[in-house]
Symmetry: C2
Subunit: 318 residues, 2 copies
């Protein structure tokens, strides 16, 4: 495992993508971010969750035909081919979120990682869907992911990146997943070295409360990535769609984090913005090498963790 | 659950406790911290891990008679009775770590929580023992917890605090446990509202590396508590034994954290120091109330978490 090349990774944060924006216009923005990333030396670029359209789960859309315009029936497809083509020309891979509509009519909040040759290396379907099935009466904005998507059915499948990247073990999460240590550990136990995450996170409590604001929501977003990267001794890149989208605020705060949980790069705006960092895979061993603090085989005690799988919800003690 | 009283909780950080210090002298220091805490209105005081003696696992002690002087054969016992008596007089409860030697000769790194009436409300034995069984050749300081203690055999048992405190669901962890999300979630699924933690954390890499220093070790300590408190929507108090103990550095950084992961109080010294905060139990619902972001029953997907219990160590993908 010596002489592995470092990887320059980019987080391609986007500003808002309005409901009225055309897909062609949005794709051109993603391509511009890809090119900026490549110009900074990046060989892998992470885009946000659902960056091809507005975050449509904020709307209660009863018209199925309209709803279907937000989904991709295959990947790639003519609406995104230009991005795939440009990435292959640049020999740059990417993580891309999208709403997936399968031939069987199933709907998932999905992400893929594409290699520098344009091949899909890994696919993930969001497990931790936030929000609700039914719209909340009286709310201007909804969070209807549980209505528009099924729960991901692929588990947490780690996969290898390109040779050119040092062949790292990669994992993918989407948005709310990053707050769930179970998801990170499921990948950590497979030895992941870089977690790729895209998100759209409201700058207010998406569940109707008034106690949360943009500052605290951004703090939570960063805290979750720093801590879980540390606990699993992995690098992570976590990328926002940010800003005022259709009149609804989205936090920014995209970060690249090292296996110590320390921030290597952080977005400063709520606009289209590229952040990059160079990842040295040898830094992982300090966390989880033999005898180290997160040498799982040496220190974990799963016989005491059974509640985590045997129990779904809270069971309050008497 | 309305009209629950708030609880003022204290973290009673200690400076170093040298190998040469008498137990009577050390106990007087703990009593002084208890009294300072009570004077600030605290009804529950958390002491560090193993605060009755120096952190003896840093020494390779071959003489069993000498080793045994660090353990308590019952709790309370004449060596600590004065602390129990003073606490009952003040109607203050406390969390206390100690090295436990059972009648059967078993040894554990243990903590108890004592109620305002002097009764033991809960007991915990450290599950995540760091360090090694065999001493590391050539190291001035060892980390021999795996030699001197058995792994805790009580799991993660939540329990109720006193009526006077609002009868919160409480959990206990010890030191390295705080870095393991599995431990927190096992308590979180029981609805804990306050996690009590004591620690002795080296100001350098205790596993022999040179990549970690006091700053990064303190950052990790705080990060772990903030993030896991947030993920489980619980308050937490995490208390250090700090400073230069027997020539070996210990980090400080004791903190009290709210269910948002935000710091309510933080120690500023490496000496005996009391921090306090007032806990409002109603703040927990924002995190894990019905339909909220950590409404476990609504959002968790244990069918995808099986690796966490079925697998101990890393299983790298091909």
């Amino acid at each position: 495992m010596t002489n592995r090349p470092n990887l320059i990774v980019a987080g391609a944060q986007t500003g808002p993508i309005q409901r009225a924006d055309t897909r062609a216009h949005t794709l051109d923005r993603l391509i511009a971010l890809l090119e900026q990333s490549a110009a900074k030396g990046a060989k892998l670029v992470a885009f946000p969750e659902l960056p091809l359209t507005t975050f449509f789960p904020r709307w209660y859309i009863e018209n199925t035909q309209e709803l279907d315009t937000y989904y991709e029936r295959e990947m790639p497809n003519p609406n995104v081919q230009k991005l795939f083509d440009r990435a292959r020309e640049l020999k740059v891979g990417f993580y891309l979120g999208y709403a997936e509509l399968t031939p069987e009519g199933r709907r998932f909040n999905t992400s893929i990682t594409v290699g520098p040759d344009g091949q899909i290396l890994g696919k993930y379907r969001k497990v931790h869907l936030p929000g609700s099935v039914e719209p909340r009466a009286g709310s201007r904005f909804q969070q209807l992911e549980k209505r528009y998507f099924e729960y991901g059915d692929l588990g947490f499948p780690a996969f290898r990146g390109a040779e050119d990247w040092g062949r790292p073990a990669l994992g993918m999460l989407i948005c709310n997943d990053r707050r769930w240590p179970e998801a990170w550990r499921s990948y950590g136990l497979q030895g992941i070295e870089l977690m790729l995450i895209g998100y759209n996170s409201a700058a207010y409590d998406p569940n109707g409360g008034t106690a949360e604001n943009e500052e605290i929501r951004t703090f939570h977003s960063t805290l979750a990535v720093q801590a879980n990267a540390y606990f699993n001794a992995t690098f992570a890149v976590s990328v926002a769609k940010a800003g005022d989208e259709d009149g609804s605020g989205l936090i920014g705060g995209s970060v690249i984090v090292d296996p110590n949980g320390m921030i290597l790069a952080q977005a400063k705006t709520l606009e289209d913005e590229v952040i990059v960092a160079e990842l040295d895979w040898s830094k992982i061993a300090q966390g989880r090498g033999p005898g180290k603090i997160f040498d799982f085989g040496f220190h974990r005690r799963p016989q005491h963790y059974s509640r985590i799988v045997n129990q779904v919800g809270l069971e309050e003690i008497p």
